[in-house]
Point group: D3
């Protein structure tokens, strides 16, 4: 399934307009064995998202009647332009990996009713197969599709009631940034390294914010710039929500 | 040095008004041996910030003519209400610690001219001695004082030219959040755990944003709420900038 | 590119004859940024193999005039039917992973003239995206294609002479085993768990053995059974060598 | 609370007589949340000691009817004159840290009746905020005050009977050494690095030895020198016991 | 107990004929406290093998009625000609160690009836005190003696029935290799480093194969060479089985 | 070589008198490849000590003209009565191991003239093969023999001048303790666990103390008891010095 917008007079590195997403492609059920899975692509960025459903919850939630959703993010060593050492070989997980894993988990939990899930756990895994900017936001967007499929699977194969309203909304995410003084949507890697300000925004299907993370990489930013970036992100996420909806409706 | 605002009709847990900071106290030079140090207190939150100046830079910056500033955050095991195991004993640093260390480093680098610093390194250490909410923002605010003192020290004791304009601005940070539907400044721990939305904002002395990190812990938030939180944070940081200025001017 | 053999009267779990490979598919250049890459599939088993070329060698080979080839194998957490914890999260690499990484490295070095490679390193990464038996042998077979492409790349983009005869032969690998007393080629997972004897065989394009690893999982085996397994493996690897050749010739 | 002795004709680096302690200061209850806490200072050496009371015991003591006291010692990275890397970042605890933690635990257990404590645990944490020699002995001396307060707290807030005789004695510790052939009490850092022999002595309030650890750093020592060092230490610890008593009596 | 074969016209580095073992010596019960122990020597190679019997099984076998046998292999730092760092100091176990530990465990489990063992565990430890080639095969051969003694011990001291047929066969192992084009039995270190092909073979007392691991270190090998190596190994293991039998019969 | 004293009216667990050593046996050159090695036995306690000589020093000593001696202590998993997990498997070295390694290193450095050693390193490894009390003191006593042989080796095989006076004295160590109120020499394990006070004493050949480590395990001890323990230890070490001398003179 792919989203494609005409490109009138864009002068970004790949010819896009400032408010244009890269081509987004979500292949649902890319794996045969996971309860939910999706390969999501934003241009060259390619993330494999899986959702593993298991009965029971971590010890600290036992007896609560409520479930748990958590996430792990990782990158294959040659996802990037030059090879990075494996975290398993280094024997420790880096700060960036931890930070992104936590962001993905929080973002998806924002649209899950953990009580409705019952004492079940869904583990999300987002593995970047190829990286060209926006991997964490692609991961969130793809993980939602995998999560939705895992919930459906559980309703068919476990005690989870078919009528349980586990998902309260959809969720997607996008990166925005200010490059050469101009706010841009969905930065690819070459844009990302030049951005003065870089922001990741996580938005629900109904348009509210779950997470806003803006960082001045170069010059600090003001309220006006912040506003422009949020506008771009809101628009981008609305489009992503449509793509997710189409994919889950089987129309993509 | 302490900031204190009258408390007309506040009904927060400790009687503050929604836009009132806790009592802020910065003890400059709390240690005898560090190039810069400050014990910062926001109510019961107490963070020891040190700045260690050393000549030379990490390998990846050698020969660049430019310096480096980095930070590490940690919490003593009994800083919190119940004891937490040491990360040194667990053998690994948690995601939260990594995330905050990276935030502090980025925030302070935003007001440093690394070229003016020359091939020197300043290592910031922020150790929480007692935690009652807002430890990461206290750490940033206190680290700025330690950093400023370490830069002054280096101008007196190393080759760093006295005229070098190493610091380009000051920086401080504060947490804000929505509790029971009401935007509040400088959450203490009891407020923090009940917040629907929690936001950490890092602002320069001249009023621009360095970092905006908003997270919906409960319900997602909208643009209006985001605006109210940013207003509160901007005001709080302006007050913190004044406290920092007074302390560094020796008037506190 | 796919290999396909008619299936007259096979009664294996998926209808294959005892000496029949699963459908083998090699997608060359699956990634955009690696010097060599191949996605290899044996039925549902899917391994992403990359070859990263870099100038220079590990410290212990410096000044030797000779190069190095090494490999790392890993499995995504949800490659398997039930999720396995990440080795990066556990903080240590398991014995099985180590063992397979070493096997892949040795197998590929058997067909490389390290002197002809000069002081350059090729790092192979084999990441299992989906596992259904035979992942280590698929990894070796796919890694050869990635390796060949990385060598070609280096001849075009580095000082490596175009005439250097770096590859001395091709190499592929297959698993064989005795299931219900019957020798079978290319075990899928369900067969693998029932095998009394399990053998991985690595064979050069010219038909010599690089590695023979036979293990009695159930009853010990005798010379006759060993012979039958080696016959099957030799035939299977000959077919894989043809597939590799076709893929590298651009005919697949 | 501070101990101070006149300094007639001392010619030590800071003017003390050979048998004179540095100024000792114990601030009881330095933290708001711990069951017991004390900031102890020996001159510039500054150690924050906390005692955390919790019901229950480690698995290996369950059902024994008896409690447990254990200790962890650590140093902030910039406690020393030049910064040391964090053990949490290195991923492992050094031998020196382990050794001192074990010494503190043994020393405090020597004055606790674990049976009278019941199945409860007291965890001591001694974190060096600034180091100028004698950190381990300061830690033991301060930990006793924190421990005593945690026991009192438990008698007021838990099932621990008010009449339980949990503490059987007090305990304090001091370092002594031979510098330039002369036995000295309470070495500061500059003396410690020049000492030929260095000894840490732990003594109960009633004057018996709990631990004697003498090490020849330079020349080996004989029985006469050992005797002189023990005399100094016994006197120093008697003074420390008085300081502890005053502090706990609320007279300091 | 030692095996010794006449050496007519051998021209190997130590004068042995191609099919001649080094002097093999097994000292049963070398330790006083282990349930089974053996010091095994192949020439200068010296491995201390212990078998520790304990009631109960790992969690994943609980309630199965069946037991478990597992093994760990390690080398003292100065077992080799130049000292190697300890794996405990490096904080991680190397791939080679893991691989050999797994091989030893599999080999011994091949001759144990785990059901007959009941819910008991035997842990084998094989520590190389001095290494001169063939340490893993010596470890397997010696571990069998320790295992047999631990089983006997358990029959005398635990609920394990004296009549239980726990051991189904004996097992031993030997290395063979092609050096200068010539197949040789039981390589010592100097031969091992020059071998073109290196093979470890594990054989039951009744002559069947448990494990065949052949690796082309230099040139790949063909079926004829493979056959010659297996012949040598079969003969060597038959001799080792006799030595094991004599030792266990108390005749050595 | 063995020391043996008549046992008139001893009533210790093994019939020794209070001031009697266990049978001490030192087998010099127990390994073929180490520059120095000794297997030392105190009754059932058995420690393999090796000394590895290498040219060069750790980075922090480079250019100092002076050498280095360091030590590592470890225990095989089944050295003890019940098996302990390997520290390499746990991935971290315990506090006790660290503490003992440091003690051994300090003790041997006390009798080495590091300047006379030149920029060379001697690494001592003390591996406990069987433990029955007194392993650390046996390790020190045996390590001295290995060290002396490594120094001799270096004088014959390296640039170290034959006339260099590298060893300034000999060193040995013994444990003493108070059991049932009675001071005893050389505690075996059963005595060690019952000791009220436990002391390890390291003494030079000329009778001075290198290290005195006394710990009250039960009741604190007084000066009289301390004196009695030091007397016992001094006598024991004098006997050990004679044994070491005989062994090194080749008379044992």
């Amino acid at each position: 399934m792919s989203s494609s917008t005409p490109t009138p007079d864009g002068d970004r590195v790949d010819g896009r307009t400032p408010d244009q997403l890269r081509e987004v492609r979500i292949t649902r059920g890319w794996l045969d064995q996971a309860e939910g899975s999706a390969l999501i692509e934003f241009g060259r960025t390619r993330v494999l998202c899986t959702a593993s459903f298991s009965e029971g919850v971590p010890r600290w939630k036992k007896g609560s009647g409520s479930g748990w959703v958590t996430a792990e993010y990782a990158m294959l060593p040659r996802a990037t332009n030059t090879r990075s050492p494996r975290e398993s070989v280094k024997g420790r997980i880096g700060g960036r990996t931890h930070e992104i894993s936590r962001l993905i988990g929080r973002s998806l939990r924002a649209v899950i009713d953990l009580d409705a899930l019952g004492e079940n756990t869904i583990q999300l895994d987002c593995d970047v197969l190829q990286a060209d900017g926006g991997t964490r936001t692609a991961a969130i967007t793809g993980a939602y599709v995998a999560l939705a499929d895992a919930v459906s699977w559980a309703k068919r194969h476990t005690d989870l009631p078919a009528a349980a309203e586990v998902l309260t909304d959809s969720v997607s995410a996008i990166s925005v940034g200010i490059v050469d003084g101009r706010p841009l949507l969905d930065l690819e890697y070459r844009e990302d390294v030049e951005a003065e300000t870089d922001m990741n925004v996580v938005v629900t299907g109904s348009g509210s914010f779950v997470e806003v993370q803006g960082t001045a990489e170069g010059a600090p930013f003001d309220r006006t710039e912040l506003g422009a970036l949020l506008d771009l992100a809101t628009g981008g996420c609305a489009e992503l929500a449509r793509v997710q909806g189409d994919v889950l409706a089987g129309q993509a």
